[in-house]
């Protein structure tokens, strides 16, 4: 029963602890936030420059029509995966260690989608016409082209973004009610509006639970489909080393992998900053790390399996690209990826590492770096050595692209920081449920023990007589 060292916490204390995290932020908070805002402003300036001059200033060219924007897009979409997907899967399998960590993981999902959604937009040549991608009726009967994987992307991401916002929001309503009951001023108004009159009535709880499980049932296949559709951007093309059958599952595994790493990073930070040691326990970290390790192994397998299939098919173009990847101009990206994302996760096989918060923190950053490099090596090297040798060229992303990439990290952090101060980043009601059920279960085991003793007494009595 002592799976978790989470003690029997007073419910009122749970409220106090979590609501304390919403209180007026410290100086450090404003410092980090202003750095983030500054990064976002730099990114906006770079985008304005690119908007006025044309995409050439991003140093993309023919054949490098796509570059860092797309690999960042894949990276952020990938990061968005574990939050909602893991939360939904763990909900359906009734793994209750999800309860203290799912809220911030889902928020991470939402904000990384919001970050990812920027990239296909600024990547467009004519940003000002981007609404043409939407299927709106018009007098010229012009419609978008639903055959294009980019449209599938748009559909999948819209569905995913709205569904995970709703999933996050629905799961947060009881907590918003708690906030409402304890808040004053503008916060009171905000929480009153958002909690839409939740009072914790039995009929509300029943409808809530049913809805929550139904949403989770949708979100699992949805999340899988979203990243396989992102993979389709590549897999549906004709390019060597993009046109790979195993790309969709490979992308989904990679997405879960980098998302889990991001969860670990934020886990350690929140635990440290908000002093959530009682909720985000070492045992939960241990379980998260084990899960990450398992996903890392799936990703490893799919990654290496892809090389095997190229080696086996002996396809001229694919083999060329593969050799170029390992020994060509982009070789350090590929080797960097292999070291950071393929070898580094084996550290999680050791209990000492899994139980050391800061070791996990740095490890998770290494894993994310590896996965970021992985996205770059998916996009760029195949373009550099395509079907047409005359166009082969090596291009590295320029200042504009790098600035916007840095800005995307600032944007994500900014949103997440604001979220942490406005919304409870640990689910209060679910932690209460966890405590309640554990208390009940432990009292039940006590009773079972008693009845055993009683049985034995009866037996001995019978034996005596």
């Amino acid at each position: 029963m002592s799976d978790y060292s989470m003690k029997d916490i007073e419910w009122a204390k749970i409220n106090r602890d979590v609501l304390a995290s919403l209180e007026s932020p410290r100086k450090e908070f404003w410092m980090v936030l202003s750095v983030c805002v500054l990064l976002v402003l730099c990114g906006a300036a770079a985008e304005a420059y690119q908007y006025n001059e044309g995409l050439g200033v991003a140093l993309m060219n023919r054949p490098h029509f796509w570059q860092l924007y797309i690999s960042n897009f894949v990276f952020w979409i990938g990061m968005s995966h574990s939050g909602t997907l893991l939360s939904a899967i763990l909900l359906l399998t009734q793994a209750d260690w999800r309860k203290p960590i799912y809220r911030f993981a889902e928020a991470m999902t939402l904000f990384s989608i919001l970050t990812a959604a920027i990239f296909p937009v600024i990547h467009l040549g004519r940003v000002w016409n981007m609404y043409w991608v939407l299927p709106y009726p018009n007098e010229r009967t012009i419609w978008p082209n639903f055959r294009s994987p980019l449209l599938w992307d748009a559909a999948a991401i819209t569905t995913y973004a709205t569904s995970s916002v709703l999933f996050l929001y629905i799961g947060m309503i009881p907590d918003l009610a708690i906030c409402r009951d304890n808040a004053t001023g503008w916060r009171k108004k905000l929480y009153t509006a958002l909690s839409i009159g939740w009072m914790g009535r039995a009929s509300e709880w029943m409808a809530f639970r049913k809805t929550y499980v139904l949403l989770a049932c949708f979100l699992v296949p949805l999340a899988v489909s979203v990243h396989s559709i992102v993979a389709s951007d590549f897999a549906m093309s004709i390019m060597p080393d993009w046109h790979i059958t195993s790309f969709p599952p490979y992308f989904v595994a990679g997405a879960l992998y980098s998302g889990c790493a991001a969860i670990i990073t934020l886990f350690v930070l929140l635990r440290y900053v908000f002093k959530f040691e009682e909720y985000m326990t070492t045992e939960i970290m241990d379980k998260t790390a084990k899960l990450t390790f398992a996903i890392a192994m799936v990703w490893n397998y799919l990654n290496l399996g892809e090389y095997a299939s190229i080696w086996y098919s002996n396809d001229m173009f694919e083999k060329e690209v593969l050799l170029e990847k390992f020994f060509g101009p982009y070789h350090w990206v590929v080797w960097g990826m292999l070291i950071c994302a393929l070898i580094a996760p084996f550290a999680m096989a050791f209990k000492k590492v899994r139980h050391n918060m800061w070791a996990m923190f740095w490890l998770s950053l290494v894993l994310q770096l590896g996965m970021w490099l992985e996205r770059f090596q998916i996009v760029s090297p195949p373009l550099a050595s395509n079907h047409e040798p005359w166009t082969w060229a090596v291009v590295w992303p320029g200042t504009v692209q790098l600035t916007i990439t840095a800005a995307s990290f600032g944007w994500f952090t900014m949103l997440f920081l604001i979220f942490c101060k406005v919304f409870p980043s640990v689910s209060m009601y679910e932690v209460k449920e966890m405590v309640f059920h554990r208390r009940k279960a432990s009292s039940r085991t006590d009773m079972e023990d008693l009845s055993k003793v009683k049985d034995e007494m009866i037996k001995t009595e019978e034996g005596l007589s």
Partner: protein, 178 residues
């Protein structure tokens, strides 16, 4: 016709088991004297066992989900198929048919999920009766660690119900007519 005024009693307890006892006692009372018009529990966490006490809730949310998802699939497929041939110039592309079925599967899939999720949310709002204003007797204690029992009673016989609520160890009782 003038709306009949409703009379509510609201008791707060510090334990779920006490609230359970109150509800069963109220039911006994109701059998005898027909005083209770409705009972509702307010709690900070979900208790799946309330259905055993309060009777089953009729909340067919999954039906909304099911039909929403089917509608979504049909709408999405019709949208892609119709959009492909509604272009001012019918567009054959890549030597493939104008309405390519394998490609439409993806959008159909997304449409299914999208409508399924939305209709589930709508059903949730309907069956949870939200959004709504807070009740006058609502206390923030029930969002923290206490259980509230709301009883709608015949105003003339509210004393009896009140006695039951008190007997089971209510921390506080609020009485409201509206």
């Amino acid at each position: 016709m003038r709306r009949r005024k409703k009379h509510f009693l609201f008791g707060v307890y510090d334990d779920f088991d006490k609230a359970r006892d109150v509800v069963s006692e109220l039911k006994v009372l109701d059998l005898k004297e027909m005083v209770v018009d409705g009972i509702e529990l307010y709690s900070p966490i979900e208790h799946p066992e309330v259905e055993e006490i309060l009777g089953e809730f009729h909340q067919p949310i999954q039906r909304f989900t099911f039909f929403g998802a089917i509608t979504g699939a049909c709408c999405a497929f019709l949208l892609v198929a119709a959009a492909a041939q509604a272009m001012f110039t019918v567009q054959p592309q890549g030597g493939k048919p104008v309405i390519p079925l394998p490609m439409d599967i993806v959008i159909t899939y997304e449409g299914t999920i999208m409508f399924g999720v939305y209709s589930t949310i709508i059903a949730f709002l309907i069956y949870a009766g939200m959004p709504k204003r807070l009740k006058k007797y609502y206390t923030q204690k029930v969002s923290e660690d206490q259980i509230g029992v709301e009883v709608q009673v015949d105003p003339a016989k509210s004393d009896k119900a009140r006695a039951v609520l008190e007997k089971c160890g209510a921390l506080e009782i609020r009485e409201v007519t509206q």
